[in-house]
Symmetry: C2
Subunit: 231 residues, 2 copies
């Protein structure tokens, strides 16, 4: 058997990407879901997705789909899982590779998202979506929690400058439990991966809270020294 026939015998498949896009706004963790405007399934809720093109990696396809809906590039994305059940899509056999993305809601192109029928919903507002998209969301939440525990990915959801209260409320949202204020400050500051700025944020208190900035370079150095990030 030569190479041509070896590959030629095998069946080909539609391959899609679906994106679970997380944002954090007004103290709440939110998800971008779309109400489809086009057939098939017009009017149904779904994740943002699209087909993988011939000259495009699955990672690139996910990035393209994200940009198409939010206008954002160079965003934190991670592959979640490949969903390969034969009948998962009711229209055709489609293998879907799911990705989850963390974005700063404030940065995204709101009109563009609206034009695509996209809505930001809180976790408890998520309706029934098409196919296995609810399962994808559940899987993404589990992975987000695991991942946030040992990697500094929370910062991807916050503005560049943030207060410790904002950071804590983000982790409270992700883990769905309240965290002790003093212990949280102690732990996160002891990691020594944030820069304390002179500026204060006065939008949420009269006294004002110091702003901090995550320092990726510092994080890298500490990782190489064997620091275990855990929060």
């Amino acid at each position: 058997m030569n190479a041509a026939s070896f590959y030629g015998q095998a069946p080909k498949h539609l391959v899609a990407v679906d994106c679970i896009i997380f944002g954090f706004d007004e103290g709440k963790l939110k998800l971008l879901v779309m109400k489809r405007k086009l057939a098939p399934m017009a009017g149904e809720w779904s994740l943002v997705g699209g087909f993988v093109q011939a000259e495009e990696s699955t990672d690139d396809a996910a990035a393209r789909v994200l940009k198409l809906t939010t206008g954002l590039e160079d965003i934190y994305m991670d592959q979640l899982h490949c969903y390969g059940e034969v009948n998962r899509d009711t229209g055709a056999r489609v293998i879907s590779v799911a990705y989850y993305a963390l974005i700063r809601i404030k940065d995204h192109d709101r009109p563009l998202a609206q034009e695509h029928g996209a809505h930001w919903l809180e976790l408890h507002e998520i309706p029934t979506l098409i196919f296995d998209h609810n399962r994808m969301i559940n899987d993404a939440l589990v992975q987000l929690r695991n991942n946030a525990h040992f990697h500094p990915i929370g910062f991807e959801l916050l503005p560049e400058k943030f207060t410790l209260s904002q950071l804590r409320s983000l982790y409270e949202e992700i883990y769905q439990k309240t965290l002790d204020k003093r212990n949280f400050r102690k732990k996160i500051l002891s990691l020594d991966v944030m820069e304390k700025l002179e500026e204060k944020d006065k939008t949420s208190s009269k006294k004002g809270a110091h702003l901090y900035r995550f320092d990726p370079a510092r994080y890298e150095v500490l990782m190489r020294k064997g620091l275990v990030f855990e929060i």
Copy 2:
């Protein structure tokens, strides 16, 4: 746009599965790799793999490939990652979904494996494999370590009945570090997920070591009560 044209526009892809098959034998963690007998790439080392068929889920394809090479069914398998780079396969554009499996080496069909050109190699013996297969193995090792840390998957690699010394040496292999004998016993026994048998194994000492058996039902009950398995 109707459903037919919506799906019809999208390109189709070859989709493969590749299996990283771990075994544990003579105190060593081993991997099943094949020396290909057929073109293309005859003589090259590769993982065990195959194409996803039309009426077959990716999970089923991985299970089929595993059975084809080892004769084993109902084996612990978990999806690792989907590798979707355009040029990762030099013969054609192939999207590959990698799975890793944990088997009891003693149980597998040795002649069948041999017939397929399969070899069990220790980690440090792994040669350069085709395509991105070495990367897959590295990713699988990372995932095996993470996974073994919080899930009772080590037992999948041991015979049904095993001694605590065997279990410890397995974890030493997985984590690549020596573990304190007393502390290990204390920790694993405190989890209370194993049944102590009357039988002793006398193959490795004159005194004989008690055999234990993992009790999945007990584990399930404890999990539901909120126990955190960690080893």
